[in-house]
């Protein structure tokens, strides 16, 4: 136990508490408020009276009492009131209800309830922004202020977004239940998408000068680990976690004095080997489960980078092969771009440039790269390698124009200035 016993348990107990309360009261807003009340009470009581033997039981008992207090003010919740008042064990003033932890099926219920909570937060009836905000609030336990800060909106705007989404949940009857297996399989990709969008936001923020907002990456990885605990047999869930871990292992080396440091220049000795090992283990688990999905393939590419001793010694042929497979499943210009960058490494700049320039001409690829900074950057590098410096400079200029990341702009300017 550290000096902050509440913080020690917050991470694990917050989603469990919200999920259990949600099952009790059927209202997400009330569940969150009651959970918040309980943790506040803990910060007041535990330092002076000592940490309870069963923190989870203490929190749940306290939260239920707080929920009853809140419901007493709103008569239309009478049926919820009745549900809460069901005796699950005697509650003596301040004493925890240990019958809750003696329940032999408690672990299963906790998993099911948390899965219901996560799926509900990522329901397609909610907008993507609402799904992200709700997941970070209700599951990850971030405060509204923290979420607002992470997404560059005001706290009042984020409060409104959360309130609107909870209103929609209530009025439209969005269910928070563990669905049948078939429905579960259909809904899991959306959850993966929400978690990955949180990770991408943290990993390469387009507008934040510090480029990597580690907090969001940590939240996304934690959510990915929770999802993998709740759904242990899904290859894409494992693939997503592997991908995030393998990319995040490079975090310490991606920024240097306000400039973005790309893969070729990163100090690989500062990559986190423990995180890489975890990522590789998750990837192996994904491979063992069933035929691959997009997260798994992307993780396999990240694994090839993570295990390469140097940029030059990377298995570029393997990477191109993986992008070939991905393109067959999802013919997108973005995947074709990543493939072309790998082709340049495998076959040299001439063939790389040819692959890049073929993309806008292809009529079977989704997406337009003309406004995409990485496309012009890749062209600039290939042209520079071929000695076509004037054209390279033009491409760098275009990339700099399109870049919205100050750290990236610093790097691009340096590269352009280094041209003879």
């Amino acid at each position: 136990m550290t000096a902050d016993p509440v913080a020690d348990v917050f991470r694990t107990e917050w989603p469990r508490l919200v999920a259990t309360l949600l099952r009790d009261v059927g209202d997400l807003g009330l569940a969150e408020d009651a959970a918040q009340d309980a943790f506040l009470a803990a910060t007041r009581h535990w330092p002076t009276r000592g940490t309870p033997d069963q923190p989870a039981a203490w929190l749940l008992t306290t939260a239920r009492r707080k929920a009853i207090d809140r419901l007493r003010n709103v008569s239309r919740h009478d049926h919820h009131l009745a549900a809460l008042a069901q005796p699950t064990g005697t509650v003596v003033d301040g004493e925890p209800d240990n019958s809750l932890v003696d329940d032999p099926d408690r672990d299963d219920h906790l998993l099911d309830d948390q899965l219901a909570l996560l799926l509900g937060c990522c329901h397609p009836a909610l907008s993507p922004e609402a799904q992200v905000a709700l997941t970070l609030r209700a599951v990850a336990g971030l405060s509204t202020a923290q979420i607002a800060h992470a997404f560059f909106v005001s706290e009042s705007a984020m409060t409104r977004r959360l309130t609107r989404s909870k209103t929609k949940i209530r009025t439209a009857g969005i269910p928070f239940e563990k669905p049948d297996l078939a429905t579960l399989r259909l809904r899991v990709p959306a959850v993966c998408g929400v978690i990955y969008s949180i990770f991408t936001e943290g990993h390469s923020s387009a507008t934040d000068a510090s480029l990597v907002r580690g907090d969001l990456c940590d939240e996304a990885i934690w959510l990915g680990e929770l999802l993998a605990t709740l759904i242990a047999d899904d290859a894409e869930v494992a693939g997503l976690l592997a991908l995030m871990l393998l990319i995040d292992a490079r975090r310490a080396t991606r920024l240097d004095n306000g400039a973005a440091v790309l893969l070729a220049e990163q100090d690989r000795s500062r990559w986190n080997t423990h995180t890489i090992a975890r990522g590789l283990a998750e990837l192996a688990r994904a491979h063992s489960l069933r035929s691959g999905g997009m997260f798994q393939f992307q993780a396999a590419v990240a694994a090839l980078h993570a295990t390469a001793p140097s940029f030059e010694a990377t298995d570029w042929a393997g990477i191109v092969g993986l992008y070939d497979v991905m393109l067959r499943r999802q013919p997108s210009a973005l995947i074709a771009l990543n493939r072309a960058i790998a082709v340049a490494q495998r076959d040299g700049p001439e063939l790389g440039l040819a692959a890049l320039d073929a993309i806008p001409l292809a009529d079977d690829l989704d997406g337009d790269l003309d406004g995409y900074v990485h496309f012009h950057h890749a062209r600039a590098e290939a042209l520079a390698d071929m000695g076509r410096h004037t054209e390279s400079r033009t491409a760098f200029r275009r990339a700099i124009e399109l870049s919205t990341s100050p750290a990236q702009q610093v790097h691009l300017r340096r590269r352009a200035d280094a041209l003879p």
Partner: protein, 117 residues
């Protein structure tokens, strides 16, 4: 919970009355309505005459304004509705997905307001 399923489609996308697909298409609607009735989820369901039969009414500045035509001019028009009574949004969405013209039209699912008496 009660939901209204608002059915919108482009009339040009519907099978024409004299086409070979028309009979089977009409049959799908019958099957759908029966299915709703069988589980006791049907509250109401009607097909509407087309927008050529629509008239709009507004009161502005104390004046009654009556106009020929629908509220919004668009290729997709409201062709009918169901009001169903089901447990939650997911069940409503499942029913909406089974509507015969969901393949080429759009179904809007809106909860019906309940007022405490």
């Amino acid at each position: 919970m009660k939901y209204m399923l608002i059915l919108a489609s482009n009339p040009a996308d519907e099978p024409a009355p004299d086409s070979a697909e028309f009979g089977p298409y009409m049959n799908e609607w019958g099957v759908y309505s029966s299915a709703l009735n069988d589980v006791g989820a049907m509250v109401a369901g009607e097909a509407l005459h087309g927008v050529e039969a629509a008239t709009t009414v507004q009161i502005r500045d104390g004046q009654r304004i009556v106009t020929d035509g629908p509220f919004i001019e668009s290729k997709e028009v409201i062709g009918g509705f169901y009001v169903i009574d089901v447990a939650n949004l997911d069940e409503a969405l499942d029913w909406a997905a089974k509507i015969p013209n969901a393949h080429f039209g759009t179904v809007e699912v809106r909860p019906v307001m309940e007022f405490d008496d």
